[in-house]
């Protein structure tokens, strides 16, 4: 065991602090990390490949399973991408509803993030406080669509069902009461000396490095880069909403923590504006594809084991031959969908740019040279979910 100076240690895939099944191979010199190698793929389910064999509406539930703590955002990201591909415009009401849902999801995601991040650093109570409040959001989900975790509530061209006054009232109540809960979390950790010692000056990544590594979302904004897809390429109702993008200054774990805490407040403000401005009307575009969207013309796949030509109905060609990259701001960063379409109702290639995957790749940069305990803080701060990372 001690033949060489470095001790190589396998953190994960079964480890309470790796947020799922991330595996890090750490080379330790005492408590210092000399080398850190992330291994991903333990939760690989072939989502991209599965997407190729389903029509666009059928592939929607797959996106729930990407980042399972913010499934609504993934759905919306996918729907926005397909809408752009098919040239469908969702009605205004649906856009506002989706914006509310996306921001509720952002809050729910950041709740899970603060819970696990604080738990990893040892502050156990924050975990339970914030999980209590996440329940609240899941109840709101349930109220609007019946599901709590894998919602599949948005649809291509709108949302599945309309919201009612009861939901609006509950939502108002939520945005009124939730700021107190944020203060509760902050009371426990914000100025706590141990928390500051564990987070200030830890996991520093400069703005240039952060951009070069492809970081997005709060992980990037903690380094002071005000890049947010909601501002840069607005979708849904974000261009009609007034909000700020919180940025950090010191590029460390603490600033990323502050960024996300500020995003809680921004999200609340966005939800409030959406509720106030909520327009009337339909929630689904008339040209939205039905659930049983015809597959389109048969697909020629040379060398495919099921035969050269996959079955399909011959219908009039609705889906353009096109390729398209569409990005949305999910709580963890920029979730991109890249479709190559061959004129059928199925993508020829569906590529998912998952922020967690990109963020996991930066771990060696953050961890090498720091202590074992900082590895934990760094895994927490980049906010990864392995369902999305491994796809």
């Amino acid at each position: 065991m001690l033949k060489k100076k470095e001790l190589s240690i396998n953190m994960g895939p079964q480890h309470p602090a790796t947020h799922g099944v991330l595996r890090l191979v750490l080379e330790l010199d005492g408590e210092t990390v000399v080398k850190c190698t992330p291994h991903v793929g333990y939760l690989h389910r072939g989502t991209e490949k599965l997407g190729e064999n389903r029509t666009y509406p059928m592939a929607l539930p797959l996106t729930d399973r990407l980042d399972y703590v913010s499934s609504m955002s993934n759905n919306i990201g996918y729907c926005v991408a397909v809408e752009r591909l098919l040239g469908i415009e969702a009605p205004a009401r649906a856009k506002y509803i989706r914006t509310i849902m996306a921001e509720l999801t952002r809050i729910a995601n950041h709740i899970v993030w603060i819970a696990t991040h604080a738990l990893d650093i040892g502050a156990m109570t924050v975990f339970l406080y914030s999980m209590r409040d996440r329940e609240w959001i899941l109840d709101l989900y349930e109220m609007v669509c019946g599901a709590r975790l894998t919602v599949t509530y948005p649809r291509i061209g709108g949302v599945r069902c309309d919201i009612d006054q009861e939901f609006m009232d509950s939502c108002y109540k939520f945005i009124e009461d939730f700021p107190k809960r944020i203060e509760e979390y902050e009371t426990l950790i914000d100025q706590n000396r141990i928390w500051l010692q564990r987070t200030v000056g830890v996991g520093i990544i400069s703005a240039a490095d952060a951009i070069n590594w492809g970081l997005t979302g709060p992980t990037l904004r903690g380094s002071g880069v005000a890049y947010d897809v909601r501002k840069a390429a607005p979708y849904d109702a974000y261009d009609q909403i007034d909000f700020e993008v919180p940025v950090g200054k010191n590029c460390d774990v603490y600033d990323r923590y502050r960024c996300r805490m500020d995003e809680f407040r921004q999200s609340i403000s966005i939800i409030k504006q959406c509720l106030d401005k909520m327009p009337d009307g339909l929630v689904l575009a008339s040209e939205a594809p039905p659930y049983d969207m015809p597959i389109g013309k048969p697909r020629v796949m040379p060398g495919h084991p099921m035969g050269e030509i996959l079955p399909g109905e011959l219908v009039e060609e609705k889906v353009p031959f096109d390729e398209l990259y569409s990005a949305t701001e999910v709580p963890k960063g920029e979730l991109g969908f890249y479709f190559v379409n061959d004129g059928t109702a199925r993508p020829y290639r569906m590529r998912i740019r998952a922020p967690s995957f990109v963020h996991a790749s930066v771990l060696p940069k953050l961890c090498e040279g720091s202590l074992v305990a900082d590895v934990i803080a760094n895994i927490g701060t980049i906010d990864i979910v392995l369902g999305e990372c491994d796809r």
């Binding site: 339970l128 564990r198 305990a373 934990i376």
Partner: protein, 348 residues
Amino acid sequence: MDISSFYGFLGTDTTDFILRMIIMVAKIAVVIVIALLHVAYSTWFERKIIGHMQIRLGPMRVGYHGLLQPFADFVKLFFKEDIIPSSGDRPVFQLAPMIALFATISSLAVIPFFNDFVIAKNMNVGLLYLFAMSSLSAYGIILAGWSSNSKYAFLGGLRSSAQVISYEIALALSLVGIMVLSGSLNLVEIIEAQQKHWYGMYVVVQFPAYILFLICAFAETNRTPFDLPEAESELVAGYFVEYSGMRFSLFFMAEYIAMIIMSCIAVTCFWGGWTLPPVVMKALPFLAVVPGLVWFLLKVYCHLFLFYWVRATVPRFRYDHLMSLGWKVLIPLALANIVITSIVKFLF
């Protein structure tokens, strides 16, 4: 150790000796049983307290409000398979939890629970013995970490040894002020010395030392925020990651007994043990009917509550911060406390 007092204990008469021996064994049995019951219920107490602090209920299923939960846990742990890693060092692996538990349980020998109820009454090196025993229990942890032949356990053992060695010093130094004031290492005499003052508790005059002692006690017992050796999110469970069933519960018991003992030391050295301050007794004389054990236990429970409260509140230290806190802050402060206490004692 004072040899004459030891022979004095043995006595000259054989019958007398046997009688004393029986009483001694009975005392030990009573203390150990009560201590283990306390361990069982301090886990329940902890789960309940932390549960309510974290807006949940804690154990509720086994018995009324989960009161039988400790026994259910015990039964579960007792009947669990005892797994020994095939590549581990078998004898050491088996020995380690015993060392840990033995060393902590032996510390109970010098704790004065009430009036005359001390197992080793004339132990004139009481405090020193306590330090020795708490150092010994570190062997259990280190050996457990080493013999498991697991890297996580090994790291936990290393962390623990570094931590215990650093904080042992500060812990002992923080109590030197008490020794200076009371002029004794015998815990009973320390309590009697406190009774000579109107305030009756050294915490009044040794408050900084008390805080230092508490911090070190948290570190010594591997409790949050110093629970690095068993840091759940980093080392999974630390040194006892490979232990299961009864052997695991031995470590568990050792940790809780250590916590109780640290509380006992704090109560004895700083809070006047089983006594109440003379000024309080004078003001409220009817309190004399309450047995000393009640006060002692109440004070101990308050300290245990503090342990749990802190666990529910603060995050975990990082290893280097822990070391710098121990060596750069606590030890100098403890030394300063000794110097100031000695000067004040010399002058007045």
